[in-house]
Symmetry: C2
């Protein structure tokens, strides 16, 4: 009969959990030992727990099923918390396994003793402390079922060491799936009326509505009734590119959202939240829906999105309406001194088919959506919860979920440093991920935010130094090489083009440090002309709307 850890692993594998992102300690040694007996479980070692949790997020976004984590008590969970937060906001299924002291050992308040449950509650509504070896498999199948229920979530199972090492483990088959609830027919009727109306209407797509069949159904409805599709600002996974419906994302800056929603009378939410400002700003509204706009909900996060969109399309007779699809279109190759926009143009120029694009470039990625809109169809993974340090780990997980697909991760220099240990796991697992570090040697977004929050127009040297990353300048080439990754630096568009072409052509991980100027202090003002230029690429109702608002 297996011990607890062996039974846990076998039960996980039977439930389809085949990858574990780990950073174990002594209390998890039986789990580690049990790996030898379980060929169905791949264990991916990380050097920091934030890499493990972020990788589990990226894996599940692409695999559509959970990975496990393996974390060392409350402190390991703490280290992994920021990326579990991002996963929670992404509605990603994760089976979060946290080792603990033996049940009888907690009485002694040893050095690593802490209240694990309080920490876990921050990211998991389902938190369970396993009590017995015999009952462990039941805990595991419940954790998997909860994680995979709609909406997906992070389920945290705390496993005391003696529950792991005890004899008498049971192996259980998975529980049946828990289907989402259906949207009532009456609700579909209401939404159909809204769609048929002549008032300006936006359908805001989030979560599962940004992928596959759901996305196509929404696009058919939108085409038939001249509805504008928008996407939530930070989607967990969004299918886009040539041959797919183009959906503009809500802007990060509230000022821009005001433009996007100006004149809209009906906002239909599909697995999305009504837009709110990322942060509060003095004297500005947090809730971004115009007062004259009615908000409707076609499907909540708990409901069956595809069924709801199918029912609505049927009610409207839009099942076969041709959707407006993005044409294939790549930006021209730029030249000269490198800039954030030129990086995005080269990415748009070269993005290979079936790519997975991870965007944590912050301010440097402002033009990425525009320049990749007509690239071959790809998946976009973004920073769902705002806790930076998510991009590199998510790229690790996505590459493990989809070993045949190229992964391209655009990461700001500041963001890269939170979970820079990801580079080691990329090298160790020889993952085909190209990491582009957009290095402007600054927390550039905070230069903008310092002004936006009204905290003084001309910040002094001491305040500015808190946003400055040039003293010392980080050498990302040495940093990448130190963890075994082929790394190069570029400061011209031509060099960057060559480096990216080479990286994408070769399997295994690559790092490109793109040196770009930090010239974003006036970014807010330059955003609108930026968007204006994009209108030539992307003719859509939104384009007309923006033009009417901001053209000189």
């Amino acid at each position: 009969m297996p011990n607890g850890a062996q039974a846990m692993l076998a039960t996980l594998v039977q439930a389809g959990v085949e990858v574990c992102f780990s950073n174990p300690g002594t209390s998890e040694m039986h789990f580690v030992a049990a790996l030898d007996d379980e060929p169905g479980m791949r264990a991916v070692l990380t050097l920091f727990e934030g890499v493990a949790t972020g990788a589990a997020d990226g894996y599940a976004r692409m695999a559509g099923k959970p990975a496990a984590t393996l974390l060392h008590l409350g402190c390991g969970l703490g280290n992994g918390l920021a990326n579990l937060h991002n996963a929670r906001k992404a509605k990603t299924p994760i089976v979060n396994i946290v080792g603990d002291h033996a049940t009888y050992h907690t009485a002694y308040d040893a050095q690593l003793q802490s209240d694990i449950v309080t920490v876990a509650r921050n990211v998991s509504t389902w938190v369970r402390q396993a009590q017995t070896t015999a009952g462990l498999a039941a805990d595991v199948v419940e954790a998997v079922a909860v994680a995979m229920a709609v909406p997906h979530q992070v389920a945290t199972l705390i496993v005391p060491a003696d529950v792991s090492w005890g004899d008498g483990g049971q192996i259980l088959p998975p529980l049946p799936p828990r289907p989402p609830t259906l949207v009532p027919a009456a609700q579909i009727d209401v939404l159909a009326e809204v769609c048929r109306g002549k008032a300006r209407t936006v359908m805001l797509l989030g979560g599962r509505a940004l992928r596959g069949e759901a996305l196509m159904l929404a696009a058919r409805i939108a085409a038939q009734h001249d509805i504008t599709l928008l996407a939530e600002v930070f989607p967990a996974r969004m299918e886009r590119g040539a041959g797919l419906p183009h959906v503009e994302r809500l802007a990060y800056f509230a000022e821009m959202v005001g433009v996007q929603l100006s004149g809209v009378r009906h906002l239909i939410l599909v697995d999305a939240k009504a837009p709110v400002s990322f942060f509060a700003y003095p004297g500005k509204k947090s809730y971004l829906v115009p007062a004259s706009c009615q908000v409707h909900e076609l499907a909540t996060a708990h409901q069956d999105v595809i069924a709801a969109l199918t029912a609505l399309a049927q009610r409207l007779g839009a099942e076969t309406t041709p959707a407006r699809l993005q044409e294939a279109l790549r930006p021209p190759l730029p030249s000269g001194e490198l800039s954030a926009e030129k990086v995005c143009m080269v990415v748009g120029h070269l993005l290979p088919p079936e790519a997975i694009l991870v965007d944590e470039a912050q301010t440097s990625g402002v033009s990425l959506p525009m320049h990749t809109a007509g690239a071959p169809a790809h998946d976009l993974l973004t920073l769902t919860g705002g806790a930076i340090g998510q991009g590199l780990p998510v790229a690790v997980g996505a590459a493990i979920a989809c070993p045949e697909r190229p992964v391209l991760a655009l990461i700001g220099d500041g963001a890269a440093m939170y979970t820079v240990q990801s580079l080691w796991t990329l090298a160790r697992e020889n993952l085909s991920v190209t990491v582009v570090i957009l290095n402007n040697r600054s927390y550039a977004i905070l230069n903008v935010e310092l002004q936006r929050v009204g905290a003084r127009a001309g910040a002094g040297a001491k305040a500015r130094s808190q946003l400055d990353l040039q003293h010392p300048a980080i050498d990302f080439v040495q940093l990448g090489q130190s963890m075994g990754i082929d790394s190069v630096r570029c400061s011209s568009a031509e060099d960057f083009h060559q480096a990216l072409q080479r990286a994408l052509a070769q399997p295994g991980p690559h790092l490109i440090e793109a040196l770009i100027p930090n010239d974003l202090s006036g970014m807010k003002l330059r955003l609108l002309p930026h968007l204006l230029r994009s209108l030539d690429h992307l003719p859509r109702p939104l384009a007309r709307l923006v033009k009417s608002k901001v053209a000189p």
Copy 2:
């Protein structure tokens, strides 16, 4: 009248909080802006919150007063949690400032919204959410007073953005100090009787009892009554070296503690806990005090340690009894291929006067206490809470607290990677810290623990790979250089001697990668001979005891 952030900074500075270790985001921009107006506050930027919290720990251990942190919402707190855990176990005073969304913005569940209080409870019994700008200064002075009360603690103040940016901030003077409670005279009488008895007695010193006057008082009592002094296994700060009482630390391995406490009839705790095993192991005891030993408490963490030791010494007439002091003694210079022990010998050979020694070398530091016992008087800072990734940040903070003292940090390769971003702050602040990375390319301690927990004698390749850091090998020289630190690699004792000598002679940060073999699989067996060899250096009652137990 100042805004909330300005009033908060001025109030902190008036209360003696002069350093802030930060990693700010948008919700903390008013704090950042207010730095321009407050010359009394030094802001030290970190690239990861675990560096900020660990540095605040190291600073306060050496400065004897708190630093502030500045963290970005629940996720920033999460990233800083492991080192706040270490600070909590160290009883370090920290004023932990966590920015939050504006009070009215939390209703909208924006991306970074999470339950901050649940996370803070893991490390702080005092958690307060500031409610008004006018009341913020009162929150701040209470936080400082709570942090500095005995026992010191991590006080967490959550500051919503609108409380920071609001007008009408008040600046308040600090609250009066809160003195520790006194040990009742009757308790001193009981302990005096125990000390006078003939039964074998150990006095276990922890916390404040390992420093200055308290340490000397304990040593006088010990000398007069043939009591053995022991120190808690992981002290926050321990004064030791030539001219100071030598106090052997409790061993990490429970097996060794059994030897240390064998035959002991009375255990007197002074600001220390009765020893328990770091982890639980199948079939082994967690509580390490022998059944035949009575446990007494001279002073708890809440009581006045110096007053208690003074009263006991007076009662025993030991106030002027000469303490046994460690003689000056340095190990000889080793030669040939480098090993963990040779690193420790060279450190003992070269340790400069007034050094601050940070030990997070794990298995590689096993012989460090022995080889530095007779070095010039120094402070030793250790891994109090077991959450690794503490050493580098603590070195940052200690160097800022004591700019005139050399800091030497011995860090295992695995441990270094958790908070490797510390290197950047070391370079940025040009701190005179010498970092020695003991690189055995392994989580070596886990190789030992895998056996100790009884999880299979011969682990397979898959299990072993979870403890292996050689694929790829991390190049710490490149890693250090990437963040602007002068870095060299050594693989011989001669080279290491030269490199350490050079590093200690030059101001500013240095990194030395010490390549050492990973030959610790038999460490448990080799520990005893190791200790036996040390007996020649350190003749003490413990030496006799150990010899009687383990000599062949």
